[in-house]
Symmetry: C2
Subunit: 337 residues, 2 copies
DNA sequence: AATTAGCACTCTGAGAAGACGAGTGCTAAT
DNA sequence: ATTAGCACTCGTCTTCTCAGAGTGCTAATT
């Protein structure tokens, strides 16, 4: 593809991203000084259409980029804008001096990114059955209630209130938990259910039913944490292409289908930024959208992804830049969470 | 208002609730055997309109209930339907055998109610600055990190990961926390900041900066918990009167404005079910909606409200019945959470 | 060979006109 | 007090026309 054709494609994509209106040859030549007449641009556009980079909504309207056109733009033409100093500061401040739990970070991040980009944002924490248990404690509260605290090898810490047999004293409870903790140290979450049998002896055996139930809860806590944080879905209303209520309903429906969301992130490359455009997306509900995702880590391990969803005419450059910074800062914040 | 007029109003409201179409005299007389001709009903309807119970979208269309009409219907005519045995079972099962934290219950409830009623649902936990601290522990995790666990007099238990000075050993930490816990027992959250000064002595004084910071976090945890759980906003798309995108946007915007939501619940009667219709609502964003709310308790204390929002032509009877059961079951589940 | 001007052609979207139908309000009869 | 009859109103749906934007093609120009 020669230089001028690239330039035409680039300008067309950018104009369409900004206006949402199909772009005609005259608009293109007048708005940006291309130094050639509309007729020339028309020819280039006809070529680009034949090659599949552009589409015609109908015979007598301007052109619109196709999935292939966006893809070429993102892969070849896009230049990443730098972010404002003040914006970077804002992002860093959002995480600073806070040590909280994963779910807090997830919500915070979803809100932050959707506020900055004005696109709906999801933050996903995939199931981590291969995480290993490092430590387990039971903190007695009033009789019959305790707080279960877990630390995983990924560095995640989670806690939950659970019921305990009322006849157990606080000190007994703590001691038994400590014994169990030693026994289960380093066991993968998915193996906990089997491993527990071999560890239940002595004092522990006397409240066997309770401990069995507790392990169920433990697995739940470690494995089945709240999976998705969503924010800014309302932004979808800003885009004229989604003022059609049925189309809108389909997209909003997508946000409530965990299975679809899972399908979107499973099998993604483990690190870095990835862009999916229109029909490249596995979910039918959002075929007329695009998605930009970024992985985030706890320690060295990728634990989840941040996911920005928008119309196909998305500000790819800016979204990518924001996600790079945010996923970096988020990972840094989680490193010692 | 005589019996027949009431009957006309009742049927009109119910028909409009079901169909969403303005109701004409003929429809009313044909659909429900009223034993009188359309002309008679027309006269009744004209009277009801003069008295302000009905409205005319335009001269040649059926009538629609006004706020006053709905209000009369809810206060005087509404009969509460019983709930299916199986539905009650479902609600109870949703809470059974789970002891979790408040936020989990909030999300669970929002989802449950929006699934049952097909209306957007909010669950609100008001700030509880007047709660008192019962117990505080610090569970050491790896060096530099611990889990802060709080128990409040309302029975709520909350926990959070926090950073601690790396030079403090786990056992010291626990001991110091225990001392602090004794000192702060029974102090109201809003007084914690002042109370802490008098308690910081001896060993505690040596890490004064840490403890000050910790109290800040403690107040945050106890007081500034996630405030609102929302579910089912997408249901709003099912109602033809909200297929207008701008109207829809205003309602969806409401869900993201905590201040507006606060205004809605503050000053409500502390217990029981309350219905607010159209212009009775303090928030401009939702003047064409209605809201049904129910209080829920932890122990004997009202700690929050469940809030169902829908178009003014809402199935009031059913929503009220569902909220009665749900708020009851939720309070029971929280009693020993 | 590449570019451009000119022009006929296509298609959409807005607006006007008209038919239709649901529902009313009034009058007069029961 | 109730009801039948009927003229009238007004919103909605359909059809039609028309302007405008934009194209594709051809022939002229560089």
């Amino acid at each position: 593809m020669d230089g001028r054709k690239q330039r035409v494609l680039e300008l067309l994509v950018e104009d369409y991203v900004n206006t949402g209106e199909p772009v005609g040859s005259r608009t293109l030549s007048r708005k940006y000084q291309l130094g050639v007449s509309p007729a020339t641009i028309r020819n280039e556009m006809a070529d680009l259409e034949v090659e599949g980079y552009l589409e015609h909504p109908h015979t007598s309207s301007g052109r619109v980029p196709s999935d292939k056109g966006y893809r070429y733009y993102v892969d070849q033409l896009l230049e990443r804008p730098g972010l404002d100093r003040s914006l970077i500061q804002w992002i860093q401040d959002s995480y600073r001096a806070r040590v909280r739990e994963l779910t807090w970070f997830m919500h915070q991040t979803a809100k932050l990114v959707s506020d900055i980009t004005a696109y709906p944002t999801l933050v996903i924490a995939p199931r981590v059955s291969d995480a290993r248990l490092m430590e387990l404690s039971l903190v007695p509260m009033r009789p019959g209630l305790a707080v279960l605290v877990l630390r995983m090898d990924s560095g995640l810490i989670e806690s939950q209130t659970i019921a305990v047999p009322t006849e157990l004293l606080g000190s007994d409870l703590a001691a038994m938990a400590a014994e169990l903790s030693r026994g289960l140290h380093g066991v993968a979450v998915r193996d906990l259910e089997n491993a527990i049998w071999r560890r239940l002896k002595g004092d522990l055996m006397r409240h066997r039913q309770f401990w069995e139930e507790m392990v169920q809860r433990l697995i739940e806590v470690a494995d089945d944490e709240e999976r998705v944080a969503v924010s800014g879905t309302r932004n979808m209303l800003n885009y004229p292409e989604f003022r059609d209520v049925d189309r809108l309903a389909r997209v909003l429906g997508f946000f409530e289908k965990e299975a679809e969301i899972d399908r979107l992130v499973s099998g993604r490359s483990p690190v870095g930024i990835e862009v999916m455009i229109g029909a490249e997306l596995p979910s039918l509900d959002i075929q007329d959208c695009s998605v930009v995702t970024a992985a985030y880590r706890v320690g060295r391990k990728v634990v989840g992804r941040v996911l920005v969803l928008g119309p196909r005419r998305m500000h790819y450059g800016r979204v990518i830049a924001v996600l790079e910074t945010v996923s970096e800062e988020l990972s840094r914040a989680l490193e010692w969470a």
